[in-house]
Symmetry: C2
Subunit: 419 residues, 2 copies
Amino acid sequence: MSETEVLVRQKAQAAHDAAVRMGILTSGVKNKALLAMADALLDHSEAILKANEEDMLKAQNNGMKSSMQDRLRLTPSRIESMAEGLRLVAQLKDPVGEVIGGSTLSNGLSITKVRVPIGVVGIIYEARPNVTADAIGLCLKSGNTVVLKGGSEALRSNQTIAEILSEAAQKEGIPSGAIQFIDVTDRQAVTDLIHMNGLVDVVIPRGSARLIQAVVQNATVPVIETGAGVCHTFVDESANCEMARQIAFNAKVQRPSVCNAMETLLVHEKIADAFLPQMIEEFIEAGVTLFGCEKTCQFDPRIQLASSEDWATEYGDLRLSVKIVRDIDEALAHIARFSTRHSECIVTENMNNARRFQSEVDAAVVYVNASTRFTDGFEFGFGAEIGISTQKLHARGPMALPELTSYKYLVTGNGQIRG
Amino acid sequence: MSETEVLVRQKAQAAHDAAVRMGILTSGVKNKALLAMADALLDHSEAILKANEEDMLKAQNNGMKSSMQDRLRLTPSRIESMAEGLRLVAQLKDPVGEVIGGSTLSNGLSITKVRVPIGVVGIIYEARPNVTADAIGLCLKSGNTVVLKGGSEALRSNQTIAEILSEAAQKEGIPSGAIQFIDVTDRQAVTDLIHMNGLVDVVIPRGSARLIQAVVQNATVPVIETGAGVCHTFVDESANCEMARQIAFNAKVQRPSVCNAMETLLVHEKIADAFLPQMIEEFIEAGVTLFGCEKTCQFDPRIQLASSEDWATEYGDLRLSVKIVRDIDEALAHIARFSTRHSECIVTENMNNARRFQSEVDAAVVYVNASTRFTDGFEFGFGAEIGISTQKLHARGPMALPELTSYKYLVTGNGQIRG
């Protein structure tokens, strides 16, 4: 066993050993701890900023891209946001102990299906240090212990935040061991963590498609895939053109770097003449680079011909592919082929097409006449978000506290035996 | 790509392509198909028996154990049972389309959380041909398509059953492609199937611990682990001795080969004198071989000293390990260490101990004063069972139709965009 594996196993074991006591803490204790943790972040903001400076200096010396540097950078107001996040989690309803089903059998056995924590949650993430505080807050509130493996670029920042939060939590009665931070840069640590069957109950990767796929492909512990978003908006023949333009513009331009932004616009051929010219102007004016099918390219010389790869690409920036389709069938077939099952939208005034689209599209969230940008735990009113699942097992779409729980059956009798 | 992989990919692709149409079938169509499939099994029972005879002959020539031969053997009454199973599934409530949540946001967006099929379910199983019919029935009723890989010993039986059911289903409007049977004995087919990410949505292994662990350790598609059961019964100081003996006897003896049978009996030291002597007599009289801790061995010379391995063993037969513990803490610690998180029981008249046991034991089903043998989809009133999950993600404990579904969010607006 390598030194790194020994360390990871030690931390996973500590989290595992703390899980039972963590799981039975009352909401009162957990909420008080979360508030104290928020205070501790602010009280120690100088130490956090100093640690972050070290990370930033190293990043600059290593020639990190400025967009990445921006993700890594902490400021007093970003620390204030982290603290505020923990306070908001304290206010959310505790999912643990919720009775979600049950019955009394004819033999008198009473069955109660009750929410319980998952146990030990592993979080594997990249450069953003705020994930450290977010993930710790959500895991603790849902009664889980947590093992964190952050990006090596943010090691000092993450380590400092985790230490401060862990110390504050323990003072308020959170079991020591509940918060584990893997403080090595060795990439082997990720591989070790995703093989800790029996100690780690689930791993949630957050970050680039490459990171997520590496975890999905190699993990033996269960994984919740928070995947890429190749999101489509289909403007149907009957769409209100003005509404369609607003929705498509918002879905592409409002924040192009996120997974719920639109990557492909599908346009019914019978509405293309009425819809596309102004839409194209608006996009180009906003700095969007357009890649179109052959028919789309005829609308404007500034549109480049899309390659077959474009339809499958999550641009994550101000690029957009546009395709004119014969009908809703072709739109559905295109989406079925290229969708990553994240968020898909139809703009239509036709009841049957709306119903059919929502029924047949296989995605976490299927919109009629609204921007795909709403796929988000906060927008959905969940009060929090640990990620957006693009798999169909366990949880789908925005995940908040209930999605960090499992359940168990409590069965109580007075001597029942099976005949 | 090997020939086997080409074949498996072809079948997974066919199941994937049929999934959308399968997912939107009405209950009426599905139920009619299930009844027709039941009829078809009976109509073609001669062909099934003939195919089974071929498998049995081969098994006998290969020197298969008689207990395995019994699992493999089909009779007219076993075929009748399979048909009856399909008819019962037709009567169960269709989980697809059930609205399980939702809200209207302040911006007017309406969100509906609705159950949908998982998509493509892979089932990997061993010698029992009845699993073929059971799995097909449950997957179809829950709107899923299914890819089956059965044990090579039962190839001809499974193949014949799958063909008969597939043909009958198609006649009633089930999409062709919805039922896929991998008709090769090459073990590589299992490896291929559990790597069909993008085509197969979940794999459920059913069978020996070895099979299940091989799937869990190697799959890249999500897996639902239907694991082993090292189930404990703890007889607390305050237990009603007569009730405790009945529960423990039932949990061990009524059907020792199944996963919800008891493997270890824990006895509070203060009740051991009153409880154990008669219990030991009853077990030995029933043919149970006892392995005890040192204290237990002092009760009877016929008890063998347990090795450290015994506490972790799922015997699956008439062997039982017995340990005397100081108190509930030692019982809880023993269970935490050796439990496979399946089913655990306390026999007690003490309210606080009952409550504490149910709260602190991490298992799918936690019993007070009832036999662990009740962990079963039919006993729980679910009307069916595709397996018993021992993992905490997605589903835990007995799984029936709702556990074969996912959900999606349908969001409907009138032009909402994100600010």
